[in-house]
Symmetry: C2
Subunit: 305 residues, 2 copies
C-alpha cells in the first residue's frame, strides 16, 4: 500500500478542487488540506463554507509544506501557476493537475518544475455544468474514472501513490498515453460539448422561433443540450484552444457523417436512416451495463453510489 499524502495543496478552488476536498473529508483522512484561489472573493467564500483547513493568500504559502500539489485551474492558466510556485516546492513532493487536456498542460507545466519533485498528470472524467467554490460535492468522483497520464520516465511509486489517492476519493483509475488521452476526450467530451453549444446557439439565433418557445418545449430532446452548454466558458475556451488537433480531426469526422445522413433525408433513403439509428443503441446498452448511467423512464439520473 502506498503511504497517503500528509499535506495536500489545492490550487484553484472550483468544482473539481472543492469536490476533492469534500471527498477527502468524507473518508475522514487526517490529511491537512491547504487551498489557494486567485481572487480574494473566492478565498473568502472558501473560508466561509469551510472549504480547506487553511486558505492561503499566496502561492508560495500554499505549496510550501505540501506532499501533493493539485493544479485545478483552467488549462490555459496551468503554465503560469506552475512557474510561479516552482521555487517553493518541497523536495520529494508530487505535482498533479486535473486539466481536461494533457499534451498542452504537460508542455506548459513540466519545464518549470525542479527535478526534485514528481509530475504525474491526471484527469477525473466527471463533472457538472456548475463551477466555482460552492459547486463541489463529495460524491462527484464515485464510480467514475480518473485517467492518469504520466510522461515516460515518471517514478512508478509516485504514480501508484496518486492512483491510491484517487481511489480513496471514490474514483476508478486507468493509465493512458498522452496523445490517446487527448483523442478519447475529444470524442467523449470535447466534441459533445462543442456540438451542444452550437445547437443551443442556433436555437437562440433563430428569429422565427422565439427563445420562449425553445424553453417551453425543451423537454422534447433539446433540454439535454442546454445543460451541457451551460458549462463554464473559460474552461471550455481553453479546452478547444489547447486540444486543437484532436478536436478539428473529430469535427471533420462528425460533419462527414452528418452530411451522409442529411443526404439520406434529402433523397428519402429510409433504409439507411433506420440502419444508422439502430446501430447506436448498442453503445447505450453498454453504458447502462457499466453502471455509468441509469435507465429510469423519466430520463432521471440519480447519483450512482
Amino acid at each position: 500500500m502506498s503511504e497517503p499524502y500528509k499535506r495536500v495543496a489545492l490550487i484553484g478552488l472550483g468544482l473539481i478542487a472543492s469536490s476533492m476536498f469534500w471527498a477527502m473529508r468524507r473518508i475522514g483522512t487526517q490529511t491537512h488540506v491547504s487551498g489557494y484561489a486567485r481572487s480574494a472573493e473566492t478565498r473568502e467564500t472558501a473560508r466561509r463554507i469551510g472549504l480547506c483547513d487553511t486558505v492561503c493568500e499566496t502561492l508560495p504559502e500554499v505549496v510550501r509544506d505540501a506532499d501533493l500539489i493539485v493544479l485545478a485551474v483552467p488549462v490555459g492558466a496551468m503554465g503560469a501557476v506552475a512557474k510561479e510556485m516552482a521555487p517553493y516546492l518541497k523536495p520529494g513532493a508530487t505535482v498533479t493537475d486535473v486539466g481536461s487536456v494533457k499534451q498542452t498542460v504537460i508542455d506548459a507545466v513540466g519545464p518549470h518544475l525542479p527535478d526534485t519533485v514528481h509530475f504525474v498528470p491526471g484527469h477525473p472524467m466527471a463533472g457538472t455544468e456548475h463551477s466555482g467554490p460552492e459547486s463541489g460535492f463529495d460524491s462527484l468522483f464515485d464510480n467514475r474514472w480518473t485517467l492518469i497520464v504520466p510522461p515516460s520516465g515518471t517514478d512508478e511509486e509516485a504514480v501508484q501513490r496518486l492512483e491510491a489517492y484517487w481511489q480513496g476519493l471514490g474514483a476508478m483509475t486507468e493509465r493512458m498515453e498522452i496523445e490517446h488521452h487527448d483523442l478519447v476526450c475529444a470524442v467523449v467530451s470535447h466534441i459533445p460539448h462543442l456540438i451542444a453549444y452550437t445547437m443551443v446557439g442556433v436555437a437562440d439565433d433563430l428569429s422565427r422561433v422565439s427563445d420562449q418557445e425553445v424553453i417551453k418545449f425543451s423537454a422534447a430532446g433539446f433540454r439535454d443540450f442546454t445543460r451541457i452548454a451551460a458549462s463554464d466558458p473559460t474552461m471550455w475556451r481553453d479546452v478547444f484552444l489547447t486540444n486543437k488537433d484532436a478536436t478539428i480531426e473529430m469535427l471533420g469526422r462528425f460533419t462527414e457523417e452528418l452530411f451522409a445522413l442529411q443526404r439520406a433525408i434529402r433523397t428519402g433513403d429510409g433504409e439507411q436512416l433506420h440502419a444508422y439509428f439502430t446501430r447506436t443503441r448498442a453503445i447505450r446498452r453498454g453504458i447502462l451495463e457499466a453502471g455509468q448511467d441509469t435507465d429510469a423512464p423519466d430520463f432521471g439520473r440519480t447519483k450512482v453510489k
Copy 2:
C-alpha cells in the same frame, strides 16, 4: 367546461398511448378505453399488464363506439390506419393523433376522414428513449406542453374538448400553426436527435478509440447523447422522412455555426469562443425557471410532479 369523452380508442399501444392510458387511470375517469395494436404480441402484452379496458383484434372494432380516437403509431403509418378505420367512425367523434410531425400527417390522414367527424391533430412534447406497450407511465405529460394544431376551419368546441382532455392528463396545452409547429419541433427535438445519433455513430465508428473506452468515460458529456440516440429507429426514420424541409433548413444553419466555431478553434480566436459559450447560458436559466428541468449537481432529473 367541455364534456369529457365517454369512450376513448387508442390505436398503437406504445410509449405515448400507454402513458395516456395510465394518466387517465390516475385521474380515475369513468372513461372506457379500448386499444388496438398491429401485432398479436403487443395486444397480448397489453392484456397481461391491464393496458386498456378492452384490447380489440381489429380496427373497425376499436373505433366503433369511440368519442375520441387517438392515432399513436409512427408518423409514416398514420395515413394507412386512417384509411382503414374511416368507414367505421361514429358521427360526431373526434379523431386526433400524437405524431411528431404535423403537415405530413394532416395531408395523409385528413382526406380519408368523413365530414361527420372532427379532426384535431395534437403533439405531446414529452417522451423518453423507451418504446413499446410496457414503457408508459402516468406522469409522462405532467407539466409538459401538448401542442394542438388544428387546420383552419376546425370546430372550436371540438378543439376545446381535446385541450381539456390533455389538461386532465397533466399537460399544458398551446395552439400552433402547422408550419410553425414543424419548424419549432425541428429545432427543439428533431435536429437534437439527429445530432445525437451522428455523434454516437462517429464514436462507434472510430477504430482508434474502442467502444469500451467510449462507454467507460461517457460521464464526461457523451452519455447524454447516447440516451437520446437510443430512441426508436422507426419513429425517427419517419420523422426525418416527413419533416424533410424544416430538418434540412435547420441542419444548414447548424453546420454554418459549427464551421464558424471550427474556424475560431483553428485560428485560436479565444474571444469568439468565450463569447459564444457565454451567450448560451441564458437559455439554460430560462429552462430552469420554467420548471422544465432541475438543477441538481449530479445532473439528476427527478420526475416533475
